[in-house]
Symmetry: C4
Subunit: 263 residues, 4 copies
Amino acid sequence: MSLRERVYHLIEPDYEPGRIIDVAIIILILLNIIALILETVEPIYNLNRTAFELFENFSLTVFAIEYVIRLWTITTNPRFSHPVTGRIRFALTPLAIIDLLAILPLLLPPPSVDARFIRVVRILRIFRVLKLVRYFRALRLLGHVIADRKEELVSIFLVLLILLALSSSLMYLVEHEDQPEVFTSIPTTMWWSIVTLTTVGYGDTYPITPLGQTIAAIIAILGIGMFALPAGILGAGFVEALAAQRSEEPEHRCPHCGEWLDT
Amino acid sequence: MSLRERVYHLIEPDYEPGRIIDVAIIILILLNIIALILETVEPIYNLNRTAFELFENFSLTVFAIEYVIRLWTITTNPRFSHPVTGRIRFALTPLAIIDLLAILPLLLPPPSVDARFIRVVRILRIFRVLKLVRYFRALRLLGHVIADRKEELVSIFLVLLILLALSSSLMYLVEHEDQPEVFTSIPTTMWWSIVTLTTVGYGDTYPITPLGQTIAAIIAILGIGMFALPAGILGAGFVEALAAQRSEEPEHRCPHCGEWLDT
Amino acid sequence: MSLRERVYHLIEPDYEPGRIIDVAIIILILLNIIALILETVEPIYNLNRTAFELFENFSLTVFAIEYVIRLWTITTNPRFSHPVTGRIRFALTPLAIIDLLAILPLLLPPPSVDARFIRVVRILRIFRVLKLVRYFRALRLLGHVIADRKEELVSIFLVLLILLALSSSLMYLVEHEDQPEVFTSIPTTMWWSIVTLTTVGYGDTYPITPLGQTIAAIIAILGIGMFALPAGILGAGFVEALAAQRSEEPEHRCPHCGEWLDT
Amino acid sequence: MSLRERVYHLIEPDYEPGRIIDVAIIILILLNIIALILETVEPIYNLNRTAFELFENFSLTVFAIEYVIRLWTITTNPRFSHPVTGRIRFALTPLAIIDLLAILPLLLPPPSVDARFIRVVRILRIFRVLKLVRYFRALRLLGHVIADRKEELVSIFLVLLILLALSSSLMYLVEHEDQPEVFTSIPTTMWWSIVTLTTVGYGDTYPITPLGQTIAAIIAILGIGMFALPAGILGAGFVEALAAQRSEEPEHRCPHCGEWLDT
């Protein structure tokens, strides 16, 4: 086995010998998330500014090395065996794009010193959490569920948009005159529709006229079920996928590359 | 094939040659909805008043032409083949009525210049969104689901009304004295019942006496399930119908008129 | 057929010849409910005080006559054929007790002229709505469902009470010091628990300390499902019962007394 | 039968002869809970301080005697028959640990007279409610359900944590500038995420910018289903377990020790 092949197996998840490296990367990702979350707590950030910056630079370096190694070793995987096109095709897989985005600040130094822009970039590092998808099958399952139910979800979103347009327009019609500053326009009223139809009900906007309350009641009783559908489909699909995975054990692994075959 | 027949196939949805016309009408409907929504945002409306009016007149003209063509060509459809009674029967189908209502402002010039009346009419144009039902099977499915479960829905609504009367009366009984301005009367208290039993919970009205809170707790724990039923039945039926439609592919189309047979 | 038998069949629901009488009683019950609801709207009540009183006296008279006729004719029903014990056993069925309670003000003149007492009695007339149970099978089904699932419901209520005690005590422990006027005592905190665990969330009481919010989050994520169970069981059972009833048509009717056998 | 064996059967639940003792202990536990709840209502506590203290001392004594007897007699149970290791192994079962914790104040006199510490200890007595688990099979079932679905629950919690991190970061990003005192930091924003995704919606924090409201709407529509999963899995599993238990009657009891074999 060449060095490249040995490194590939070390860095690939779910493969015994390199488990320690997997765990180290997982811990680094988690620490990144925790650091990002704590950075937004001002007193903590002010006291540890240098530590946070050092940790960020360290993470960027590790993630960059990880990315380069993956790109170098991926040709061991039969699916990406061609030295040029295989590497390009790998670089375009969702997980590789996430890996690249995680080290973007290294590649594209901020074009300006605009404080606000830097802040946005800093918080968007949260998407590094998606690097965890490689290591946890539960997360991959969720991705499969979304892809699987795409058709139903699109159909339902079409219905939701029409319901949203209808209910917001009706509510705007009956409540605008009595609460012009709350139901300012139909786009504003859409916030009411969503807060009501998901049953969140913050209480920042609600109808106060008897007619508005009656229409709101009918909309709520009939519409809540439709807005619960996307969340319900994803949830049910996920539970199903977990159960299927559980009963299918021992899990299938490719005998050639040692990769998980999670359908 | 006569001109009438050729035009019929062009304008009928889901039929290959006229796909461009379908898409054009769908886009026009969507633009109508977007225009209506944006019109209610005052700064946008004030700046583009003429554009909005021009677009409305254009839409009215197109929808009117569409309606006339449909009425002229419908006799090609074997179900409405009689030149007189067939056209009348078609004009009384729900979709044709929606088409007619969409061009109503053209037929019935506003009987008054009452600003408020004009505003109501303008917003009611939102029901043009229902013209989309012709083009999307997901929307027709929802209609079928409602028709299919009519019996159950009526039974449940009867139960809901009785629960509503009971819970509102009890809550009025125990809370009216302590919050006379909130639980003013039983009709007012019904708003509390609906907001609570749908679990929206805006927080505009809630019991404050220990007895009221105890009764509210019991009503909530037992009643929430009943108010979730209509929405749940519609939602479950819709998901079922989508799944059935998916598995039934290739879909059935009438060999004579080219229309979809979506049961 | 004797007069008693003929009257019995006229007044018994679901029996063709007396349908008009059934409909008349149903309308009278509904008018009673509407009157009771409108009475609590002060301006309406003040303007129509005499009309409301006349209608109440009329209703009491009709319901009293109805009760007496039922008691007289019930011996036609084979289940209550004995002239004395049959009538007593009938008088103790839930529906007959509801009928009796509906005319209670006639039998027990108010022992005092205490305004508050009279108000309570007046609103409790809402339970006349339960007289509708005799005429609508959907309502009887709901009763059967509750009786059927009694065992599960009791088990779940035990669990709910323990969850309620635990979550209220914990929340009181962590929030009492910071919000002594909101989380005054554990009984007060129970209101928070119920409002949260049913996901109603009025927003009148909520934790503000980080520890309290963390515990509230865990309680909510784990506990919401348990509080949704009673409502869900009743709802699912009701839908099931409606479906079963639908498929069992033509419905079974006793060949002797013409009564519905809805199991 | 030796005295130890006879006492064992008297004190073990679900065994006919000692039913009175079971009921007495259940009542004592319930009275403990009620006392604890009422103690937090200041006027009640101030008036009955001595009574509460006497009752607490009485309960401690009874629970201590109960614990000692259980430890003494447990060797009758074949699973814990060894006089030394059997007793130690029994003492480490969850139910025995709860029993021990219930009498902890007797064993560890408060190390300080710090009023706050005493208050915390007093309220933590609420966990005595878990002593009821021994006597009610519905409660044991819930424990089994949690143990059974541990794997799924852990997978889902991982997904929830990632969703929580993502949604809180995004919302902090778009709302922090407009509501710096509400969306102070990402940890603070997590409270918003949980309140929204469980659909509780207190209304203490909510987005006010159009962008924030749009992102909140998408998060809510897609994420609510995921946060409903743990509660739904526990609830569904519990209902299933109740149904299974019901159909399995007559229940299995070990012929040797008289204990319930609830799988």
